[in-house]
Structure formats: structure tokens, C-alpha cells
């Protein structure tokens, strides 16, 4: 008998299309898995059992009626709790939105529904996507299925953990500074940050508007590509959405190859703070790329040294404004309204009670960076850094087709280890942030386990804007070579829960 939860999304869709499995069977298997494991993992904030089964039944009905099914019809998915969903709570991991049921669907939610993907529920995340460990969720941390005492990365730790725990073959994340890629790296899964503007942000609760980007998470490169194709594309409701055809990501994922490609290695993505096992697996990956026919080119991107500083000015600045709407007037939490207090006081009390520490820190930092007298030195300079980073990327992509780096400098750290040290926490995104600032695309995929702790290491592949297909072409080749070398997908080495 086949183990439904171990199937890839592509295999699952195929079996549903051929009639070997029904969507309801598949959905029930995953709901059962969630029920059995999520007490330990805590990947989900809300499981929409009824909604998922209804969607699955609709797929089976379509199939029975002889209608054509989409490439992911009936495949279950874990949706990060940052996308609005009609009738299903959306909290963004925050107390301030506890119990909020949106009256509208995000464009991404709508596209998933139209593609007959089965949405199992909403996954845990750092509050408002601010964090790299999912410990900032107001609803408690998520455990890393490789070691439940360790973080699953963040902010999209719930989505990555759901994949690694075989609770869903597909998940959605959002990536503002690495929130798709870093969780993918530390859980041994695949995550892609598409080109900024590639996936609509309409209905995705904003953290930092000029950096946020939704993207696919999966256990294989092909599955990520199939999901990418479903969620990407122009949306007239998002002014920053690109009005151009989606890069041919599925075709690329089916034709993995690096032969004749020039692959860049950036000098700045190395040095102090990089764990030895991470560096070792990264170097092996570079060797593998050479073996597969790629030419390795060393690159110098001096501006990348300022990326972290620029990011921690731009993201907080935008978030201080984006989160102003949570004021206890129209939706969400309201605290202190005893009939004597003013609206002003109720807003301040509610925000105090409803936001966690990291959110408050960033709101204050952003308010500071934008305030008169500091704007030029901070926000203005950060935007100049952004220009310099974009130029370093442009210069690099004149010489190479893609760039590779470790996704994150270390493997999953222990829950609680960095919670009192925001700066240490921020280091997790050292390698992922430049891509968000420049707006181009990047992927993380597993490249082995670190010898010292036996935890997954992620390889980051970075491509130019709107060349997302290159990520899949290179990723598929690397993935195939590694699986061949290991004799099985990396996740098979994860402990059973």
C-alpha cells in the first residue's frame, strides 16, 4: 500500500487524475497526520478540516464528471497565516488579529482555490513575519521536525515544518528577508522567493511592502515549480505586480541542467559566523556544480556588507506605517474600552497588549528612522545602499547565470537560544537579505546534513529578476545529483515523529 503522505505533490496529483487515489482520501490522510503530529510540531494555527474536505469532494466530483483537472488538483497545502481567507481566521501570528475572519480572499488564496488545491489550514509564523525562528508567534513556537527542541526557521516556520513533518506536500510562505528560504534550509525542504512582483501581494498582510513576496514551499524542486506556476502572474489589484508572462518554471524544473552555466560565488557570503559544517556542505555543492559542468566564477559584491543594516532600517520603517492600521477601531483586538477612555488611549492600550516585543521594537525603530532629522541619515541612506546592492547584482549577472551561497550561516539553533539577543537573531538572514533589497529571485534547497549536528544545510541559488526559471533549472540538477549520491531524498533521514 502506498504511503500517501510521503508522495510528492506531482505524484499525488497524478494519482488523483488517474483515479488511483481520491482527493478526499489524500486530504483525510494529511488531516490524520496533522492530528497525530501537530501537538508536537505545532505547525498549524488553524486546521480547516471542513473547508479542506469540501474542496476535496469538489475535486472528486469534477473528476467524476469528466472535467479536466489542473496540475495540482486535490493536492493538500499548508497556507501561511498571513494570507486572507474568507471565513477562515487570519491572525498573522498576532494577538491583535485574534479571531479576525476576513471578508475577502487574497489573490493567492483565490488562485489556489481556482486550481483546486486543497487548503488544509493556516500555519504558524513569527508575528507579522518578523523573525527567523517562529518563536515570535503570539501562539507559541513551532518545533523543527528534525529536532523538536530546535527552531524551524522563520518567519514561515510553520509552513516549512508542515512539509518536513509530512503534514502537507505543499506550503506557502512569504519572504521579506529570508522567511521562505531560511526555514526551508533548516528543515531540509525547498523554498523559493520569486522575483518581487511575480506573485500578487493583494491580501497578504503587509510587513514591509517593498520587500515582501509570497512564494512556494515544497519537498521537491518540481513541486515548488508546479505551485509557483499556480500562484504567480499579473494581478491588477497589486500595483507592484509585474505585467509579463510567468517565467517557464515547470519546464525548467523538468529539465534540470547546469552544463555550460556560469555560477558565481560571492566573496562576502563567508567568514566569521559561518558554521563549519555549513561551509563544508556548501563547498561540496560548489564542487558538485563543477562536476555537473558549471563554470565557477568568484564575485566581489562589497555593498552586501551593508545589506543587513539597510534592511533593518527599511523593513522597520515600512512596518511602522503598515501596522498603524491596527488601532482597535475597525477590526481585531480592542482593549480598555470601558466607556471612559478616549479612542486615542484605547488604540495605545490595544497596541501595547496586542503586539509582541519584536513587533514593538521594529515599530519604534522604524518610527525613529523616519522621523524628521533622522530620515536622511537612516532611511535615505538605506535606500542608497539598496541601489548599490542592485548594481552589484547587475554587475555580477553580467558575468554569471546564477549565484550560489549557503542559505543561512548556521543550522537550526535551539528554541530560546537567541530570543534575548535581537542582533544575533538577525544574523540568520545574512545571505538572504540582499535578494529582497534588489528584488530578484532565489531558492533554497537541501545540500546535506552538517556533520557536527546532523541537521539540514541549505544551498541558496540566486537568479536575476524575472529569471526565476534558472533557479529551477539549476535546482533540479543539483537535487537530482544529491538524491543520487545519497540514495534517497534527504528528508527520509529525518526522525519519525
Amino acid at each position: 500500500m502506498i504511503d500517501i503522505i510521503k508522495l510528492t505533490a506531482a505524484q499525488t496529483a497524478e494519482k488523483i487524475a488517474s483515479g488511483e487515489l481520491t482527493a478526499v482520501e489524500v486530504t483525510e490522510a494529511h488531516l490524520a497526520r496533522i492530528e497525530a503530529t501537530d501537538e508536537k510540531v505545532h505547525a498549524f494555527l488553524h486546521v480547516d478540516r471542513e473547508g479542506a474536505l469540501a474542496q476535496a469532494r469538489a475535486v472528486d466530483a469534477k473528476k467524476a464528471a469528466g472535467e479536466e483537472l489542473g496540475p495540482l488538483a486535490g493536492v493538500p497545502l499548508a497556507l501561511k497565516d498571513i494570507f486572507t481567507t474568507v471565513g477562515v481566521p487570519t491572525t498573522v501570528g498576532s494577538k491583535i488579529l485574534e479571531g479576525w475572519i476576513p471578508p475577502y480572499d487574497a489573490t493567492l488564496t483565490r488562485k489556489l482555490k481556482e486550481a483546486d488545491v486543497v487548503i488544509l489550514g493556516k500555519t504558524n509564523m513569527d508575528e507579522f513575519a518578523m523573525g527567523s525562528s517562529t518563536e515570535n508567534s503570539a501562539y507559541g513556537p513551532t518545533g523543527n521536525p528534525w529536532d523538536l527542541t530546535r527552531i524551524p526557521g522563520g518567519s514561515g516556520g510553520g509552513s516549512a515544518a508542515a512539509l518536513a513533518a509530512f503534514q502537507a506536500p505543499l506550503a506557502i510562505g512569504t519572504d521579506t528577508g529570508g522567511s521562505i528560504r531560511q526555514p526551508a534550509a533548516v528543515t531540509g525542504t525547498v523554498g523559493v522567493k520569486p522575483t518581487y512582483g511575480g506573485v500578487s501581494r493583494y491580501g497578504m498582510v503587509a510587513f514591509s511592502s517593498s520587500l515582501d513576496q509570497g512564494g512556494p514551499c515544497a519537498r521537491t524542486v518540481l513541486d515548488a515549480a508546479l505551485l509557483h506556476e499556480v500562484i504567480a502572474g499579473h494581478d491588477p489589484l497589486d500595483s507592484t505586480s509585474i505585467d509579463a508572462p510567468v517565467p517557464p518554471v515547470v519546464e525548467a524544473a523538468r529539465n534540470g541542467s547546469v552544463a555550460g552555466m556560469r555560477v558565481g560565488v560571492v566573496k562576502q557570503f563567508a567568514g566569521e559566523g559561518y558554521q563549519a559544517g555549513v561551509v563544508q556542505r556548501f563547498n561540496e555543492s560548489v564542487e558538485l556544480l563543477k562536476e555537473l559542468g558549471a563554470e565557477i566564477v568568484e564575485l566581489d559584491c562589497p555593498s552586501f556588507d551593508l545589506a543587513m543594516a539597510a534592511y533593518y532600517l527599511i523593513a522597520p520603517s515600512e512596518c511602522s506605517s503598515n501596522l498603524a492600521r491596527f488601532d482597535a477601531m475597525r477590526y481585531g483586538l480592542r482593549v480598555g474600552d470601558d466607556g471612559t477612555k478616549s479612542a486615542e488611549d484605547v488604540t495605545a492600550l490595544t497596541r501595547e497588549a496586542g503586539f509582541g516585543d519584536e513587533v514593538k521594537r521594529r515599530i519604534i525603530l522604524g518610527t525613529y528612522a523616519l522621523s524628521s532629522g533622522y530620515y536622511d541619515a537612516y532611511y535615505g541612506s538605506a535606500q542608497k545602499v539598496r541601489t548599490l546592492i542592485t548594481k552589484d547584482f547587475e554587475k555580477s549577472f553580467e558575468q554569471v547565470d546564477v549565484i550560489v551561497s549557503p542559505t543561512t550561516p548556521t543550522t537550526a539553533f535551539a528554541i530560546g537560544e537567541r530570543t534575548d539577543d535581537p542582533l544575533a537573531m538577525y544574523l540568520a538572514d545574512l545571505c538572504t537579505i540582499p535578494t529582497n533589497l534588489a528584488g530578484n529571485s532565489a531558492m533554497s534547497l537541501p545540500c546535506g546534513l552538517a556533520p557536527e549536528d546532523g541537521l539540514p544545510v541549505g544551498l541558496q541559488i540566486i537568479a536575476p529578476a524575472m529569471k526565476d526559471d534558472r533557479l529551477y533549472k539549476v535546482g533540479a540538477a543539483v537535487e537530482a545529483a544529491f538524491v543520487e549520491r545519497w540514495g534517497h531524498p534527504l528528508l527520509e533521514e529525518a526522525p519519525s515523529l
Binding site: 520587500l211 488604540t347 519604534i364 525613529y368 541601489t387
Partner: protein, 98 residues
């Protein structure tokens, strides 16, 4: 770059409508001082003649036709309201002008 004081944090919290507790002011003042110390590096480029980037994409003129789209129903609009009255959002007294 100058450090950030407890009083500054209090002022910023007022601007951001956050009723911070006294111990939070101390806690955040210390942390924010460290963070600002670390991010102040960006001002290295303040004098460079580089245009700022506010948008990662070189898009311009994204506009929509002036055509009415369906609105939410008042029930949907008010569905998340902490309080409502007369089909309007009910909010505590506003300390405005006047």
C-alpha cells in the same frame, strides 16, 4: 551616531501609539541603542551621489480605469468591528480638535 535614550523611546512610542510600560522603556532603550549602533553603518553612503531606490521594480504609471467595482456589503465591512451602531463603526470618544 548618537545613542537612543529612554525619553526618546517614550516619544517614539507616543508617535506610534504604543502605551509602553516603564520597564519596557528601559528594556527597549538598551536594545534599540544596540540595533541603531549596528545599522547606523548605512550612513557611510550618505554622501555618495547615488539615487535612492524606493521600489525594487522600475515600473511607472500603473493605473486603473475609473470604473466602479463591487464594494463589500455593509455587513461584510462591519463584520470585524469590535463594536457597531447604526451600521457604523462604533469607537470611543475622539479627543479631536474643537
Amino acid at each position: 551616531m548618537p545613542g537612543i535614550t529612554r525619553e526618546e523611546v517614550a516619544h517614539l512610542a507616543r508617535l506610534a501609539r504604543l502605551e509602553l510600560k516603564s520597564e519596557e522603556l528601559d528594556h527597549f532603550a538598551g536594545q534599540l541603542d544596540d540595533i541603531i549602533g549596528a545599522v547606523a553603518r548605512v550612513s557611510e553612503v550618505a554622501d555618495q551621489d547615488v539615487p535612492p531606490t524606493s521600489h525594487p521594480l522600475p515600473l511607472t504609471n500603473v493605473m486603473r480605469a475609473d470604473e466602479v467595482r463591487p464594494s463589500l456589503t455593509p455587513e461584510q465591512a462591519l463584520s470585524g468591528a469590535p463594536a457597531q451602531e447604526q451600521q457604523r463603526f462604533k469607537v470611543p470618544q475622539i479627543l479631536g480638535e474643537d
